[in-house]
Symmetry: none
Subunit: 216 residues, 2 copies
DNA sequence: CTACCTATACGGCATTTGTAGTATTTAGTT
DNA sequence: AACTAAATACTACAAATGCCGTATAGGTAG
């Protein structure tokens, strides 16, 4: 029987999580704290817990700080972040604090269950989109410290983004067309549209602006 | 129908992977290369592939180098490392090379299938044990023993570096010439020389390579 | 002194790129 | 059913680019 505690300020979401847990009879919900301090208080009373599902945004003491505290005092307890915030900073901080996994709230019951067993077996659990961000943090550590200023959003379609990525590699229209199995004419038209959206007039400017806006 | 290619030197393991693929009727096995170079050869012939399952240890050209090459030429193709080696260095290098996921060979068919659909949806896929190592690399970057492959030094003259920087901003020959108060012909000749030194054939590749070598 | 590198500069030519206009088909939304 | 966004594809032309050869002048490392 796997014992689970929940740290989550929103009552509705907490209930939803408890329900997900109750779907499985090898999982047992123990208690919930509505903020970091309350949660820690309850945990000190009863620390016979295997896994903690932790929200990030909470009053009093947030999920990151709470994770840090709990991991220090009860290092054997596994902590899964369960949150709606999947930006680089939160992911990075949660990992630094010692989280064993990072799931989005939309995670369905079977996936939640698998994540719980995975961490108990000594692994880590991440939803694919978070895994991707993790890899990107690893790939470009220098990008971490700086920008948060959100520039006016530029919307490129999926195809346009794909073509822009090819452009950034130095491929020409012909090669891009071959890769995507479309005609060079189409590639050119896409690029024309990309230029209009980004308000640029050549490849290099397009790639520069795209990187600045985190499209690439 | 998801088209899949396999890079794997061991015949038995390759067959095993093909069998796993054949379990699902939305997956289609296209071809296999027994080493990096052979694989690339086949891929050049038929690059209508969605996902590549890549072994790391291969003769001729290993999976890391092959991943790097393929990601540069066909950035839209997703690459999943599928290997028995899960040490920090291999994982780190595979990520740097651009891999979209990292699975152990013992991965069962349903998990392999999920990983494939995950990466096609733009996420990343990792088996829990690898995810853990990834988190640890992030947590303790200083512990990374990986002596980064020392790139052969490329020497550009002061003027050439200057021009390359202008190029990277998206300026054309005429504008660069005006900025530096020299003739466009000279700018073109400099760029020609830069291309030869960097062994590239257009602006974008030059800027890419220069950034990789910390010249920019 | 000489060989070599760097910076300067031109002409020529084939290819690629940037822009504009037009048009069809498909997928989603209202 | 009608509308819309996205992806597809073509033609045409001017401009920019990549690549070749050639040439001169200044600096420097043998």
């Amino acid at each position: 029987m796997i014992k689970i505690a929940v740290a989550e300020d929103n009552g509705f979401l907490a209930k939803a999580v408890e329900e997900k847990i109750s779907f499985f009879d090898d999982l047992k919900f123990k208690f919930r704290g509505a903020n970091g301090n309350e949660f820690i208080g309850k945990l000190e009373q009863d620390h016979n817990v295997d896994v903690i599902l932790m929200d990030i945004q909470m009053p009093e003491k947030d999920g990151i700080a709470t994770t840090e505290y709990v991991k220090n005092k009860y290092p054997h307890i596994k902590i899964l972040m369960l949150t709606v915030f999947d930006d680089d900073d939160n992911i990075f901080n949660a990992i630094q604090a010692g989280a064993d996994g990072y799931l989005l709230k939309e995670t369905n019951p079977p996936e939640l269950h698998k994540a719980i067993t995975d961490v108990l077996e000594g692994g880590a659990a991440m939803t694919p989109s978070v895994a991707l961000k993790t890899l990107n943090i690893l790939r470009f550590p220098e990008k971490m410290t700086s920008d948060k200023v959100q520039l006016e959003e530029i919307k490129l379609s999926k195809r346009e983004t794909e073509i822009l990525e090819h452009l950034s590699k130095g491929l020409n229209y012909q090669q891009i067309a071959e890769n995507l199995i479309i005609s060079p004419s189409t590639v050119r038209k896409h690029i024309e549209n990309i230029y209009k959206k980004l308000q640029v007039h050549n490849k290099m400017e397009a790639v520069q602006k795209a990187m600045k806006h985190n499209i690439l």
